[in-house]
Every structure is written in C-alpha cells, then in structure tokens.
Symmetry: C2
Subunit: 256 residues, 2 copies
C-alpha cells in the first residue's frame, strides 16, 4: 500500500531545539507545501476562470470561517493566564468584530459577499453552506480548545503566508472580476493586520516551546490548520467546479 511516511511529528524527542531562524524556515516550508495558495480553486480564481456563482459559493462558505475567527480568538484569550498576552491577543478580536472606529473583518466580508450578489442576511444566517465547511471550521475550534495554548497560538501561523496570497488575489480579482471592486476592503485591512499578528505569534512559539518536541507540536498545529483551509476549498471544488455535486441542502448555483 502507498501510505505516506509520517512526517515531522516523529522527529527525535531528544534533538536540540531549533533556533529562531531554523524554526522560521520550517514554518515557511510547511506553508510552501500545505498552504491553500496552491489549491486548484484558488488557481482558477486567479486565472479569472470562476463564474459569479462559484465566487458566491466561495464567499458564502468562507463567511462561516470568518465568523468563527473572533470566537476562536476569544477561546485563546480565555486560556491565556498572562494579562500582557491577553492584551496583545485581544487586538485580533477587535480586528474582526470591530469597534467605534472600525467596522471589523466580519462586516467587511459580508460586503464582499454582497458584491458577489448574495443577500447579506442570507450570508449571515449561513443558509446553504456546505456541511464540510462547518466540519473543517469547527475543527479549528476543537484545536484551540483541546490542545495546549502553544499549539492554539501556533495554529494561527497561516498568517505568515496570507499577505502574499492576498496581494496576488486583490490584483487578480480587480483584473478579472471588476464588479467585485467594492467588496475588497477586507483584504486591504488584512494586509497590515496579519503581519503584526504573525510576528507576535512566531515569537510566542519560539519563546514558549522549550524543547524540540514542543516545537514539533507547534509545527503540527500549523500543518493541521493548513489542512483546515485546504479542505474548505476541496469541498467548494467538488460541489461547484468539477463534477458540480453539492450535497443535499447546500447552496446551488443558479443557471445563468
């Protein structure tokens, strides 16, 4: 049989800890291999080959992910014993839920969904999202609830890779889907929010993973988070692109 070799979780428990530079390199390599920038759904998006209905399905399903981010970060807040840590992490909840001066990421994502032609209250209600979206996204909550705080923090490290993907995406969305131009505020904000967050999280992981084994757990959390993002696009691709086989009860693309 062709089972894949087990990966870095088997690294020796007794190996010396990685230096900060080595840790960064391993995290980067994990993203190269597993981050969803390589997923066929994104490739089609960037080539301008998705229909409006397919972009609706993406915006609708991804809303569920966006909507749980501040819940996920609130769980992490609730697990952080240190006020300094909580003060730093709290920024993430504000970024997504907003405050007196900013509407926040969730509202910005609704604007994107609206720009695709979806009804914003249907989006907020999550009508017709794929069950597989819920399952993958809920696993993110499982991880931050059930693993160590170190691993919960490390699972956020996909933000190391998002600015590059977002820069490309905004460019391609403007080029291929100009009718989306009013919906891109979410991405503009993430371009400066994400690097602040990931810098903090990398330093936290380096400072708090005292052994190589703990570093490996953190790397595995990042790998698992990549799987969560990837699986969301698999589900979209399977339901709305290739065979077009959405499960019972899911959003269906209107004949155009």
């Amino acid at each position: 049989m062709a089972v894949q070799p087990v990966e870095t979780e088997t690294a020796s428990q007794s190996a010396r800890p990685l230096s900060l530079e080595e840790l960064r390199a391993v995290l980067q390599a994990t993203g190269e291999e597993r981050y969803h920038h390589k997923h066929p759904f994104h490739l089609l998006m960037h080539e301008g080959k998705l229909s409006r209905g397919q972009l609706q399905a993406w915006a609708l399903n991804r809303y569920y992910y966006q909507s749980i981010i501040p819940i996920k970060d609130s769980i992490i807040l609730s697990r952080g014993p240190d006020p300094v840590f909580r003060r730093a992490w709290r920024k993430r909840v504000v970024d997504h839920d907003g405050d007196a001066t900013s509407e926040g990421g969730i509202k910005r994502w609704v604007k994107l969904a609206e720009a695709t032609g979806l009804n914003p209250s249907d989006v907020r209600a999550g009508k017709g999202i794929l069950p597989a979206t819920r399952f993958a996204v809920n696993e993110y909550l499982n991880i931050v609830r059930s693993r160590t705080l170190l691993e919960a923090v490390a699972s956020s490290l996909t933000e190391l890779f998002s600015p590059q993907l977002i820069t490309l995406r905004v460019d391609k969305l403007r080029q291929h889907y100009p009718w989306l131009a009013n919906g891109l505020d979410y991405f503009e904000a993430r371009l400066y929010q994400a690097p602040e967050d990931s810098q903090f999280a990398v330093n936290y992981v380096y400072d708090n993973a005292k052994t190589r084994a703990e570093q490996e757990l953190a790397i595995q959390a990042l790998r698992d988070k990549c799987d969560i993002l990837w699986a969301q696009l698999d589900a979209l691709y399977f339901a709305y692109v290739q065979p077009g086989w959405p499960p019972p009860g899911a959003f269906r693309i209107e004949a155009s």
Copy 2:
C-alpha cells in the same frame, strides 16, 4: 441567489407533537433524502466500478469513523443519568470494542481493511487518512458532547437505514470483489446489532421529546449525522475518483 429554503427546523414551535407513527415517517423521509446510500461513491461500489486502491482508501478512511464510535457512545453513556438507559446503551460499546466472546466491530473493520490489501497496523495508526474524514467524524463527537442527550441519541438514528444498505452492499461486494469475501464479518454482525439499537433509540426519542420543537431538534440531529456520513464519501470521491486530487499528506493509490 439560489439559497435553499430552511428546512424543518422552522416548523412551528407551537405545533402539536408528532405521533410515533408520524415521527417514524419523518425520520424515514430524512433518510431517503440524505442518507449516504445515494452517494455516487456507493453507487460506483455497488456497480463494481471501484478499483482495489479506491476500496483501500474507503476502508482506511472509514476506519477512523469506526474507531470513534465507542468513544462517541461512551460520551453518551457519561451523559445518561439513568442506570437503565446506561445499561441499554452500554451494549453499543461492547459491540464495537468486543468482549471475551466477541472480537468487536473495530477489529472486524481492520479485517476488512486487511482484505483490501492494507497493512493493519497502518490502518490502526490512521496513516494517510484524509483531513476531511477527521473533520467530519470529529463533528460527530462535537454533537454528542455539546447538544442535549436527546439530540445525541437521535444522531444515532442512521441505524434505521443501515441494514438495507448493508444487505445490498454485502451482496454487491461478494459479486464484484470476491477477494474481499474474508473481510465481511463486520457487516454480518451489524445486520442484527443495528435494528436492536435503532428500535431503542426511536422509542427513546419519542418518549423524551415532549414538544414538537424538541422533536424537530432530534430530526435535525439525524439530518446533521447524515451530512457527516455524506461528507466522508464526498472527500473520498474528490480525492480518489473523479479528479484524483488527494490533499498534501494523504494516502495515494499505487499505480497498478
């Protein structure tokens, strides 16, 4: 946009409760619509159109589902305040984990996987299973942990539909994949275990759902469970049948 109408969860809170016969009919209709007997992966299986590698991918991934069933049932046991309930439900843990006189369902599933040509210790280790399998199956644990005991019990009601599917499957597996014949003990046992279980669970739901609204919650739990089974086959189909696009790190079918 083409969002599907919200389904029976919106049924009037004030409607009279369904009779036992009406409840059975609604549960049956839910299975007709959503149970995975209609999934294209199963249709291909029953037509003899799956390769050995595709059956390996199925056996390997489904093992993860099988392996959590007694964990799921132990969570339900832990939530049941009544010794009579626990004594009845305990049977399920025995059915899957075995006892002095029976090897149990998990071991039987490993034998099935072995009959496909997989290495049993790789199967037990879950090497190369699809992340989407984990996410869907873990959602079953989320449901039995976080919803009411009534809903946790109701989520088991896919057993109402399994004997018919298993009868067909055993027949078709023998016909199209005779080399699997030594691995079918799991299904033989389920044919008498499942009807006992589902009879108990239907009666429990009827006796404990005092209002129509509670009955609707139970029906929704069955619907969600069907989604969990369906999503597992979607993931297999997408990775190993149609475009053949397994995510990074997942089992790959050997060229034959």
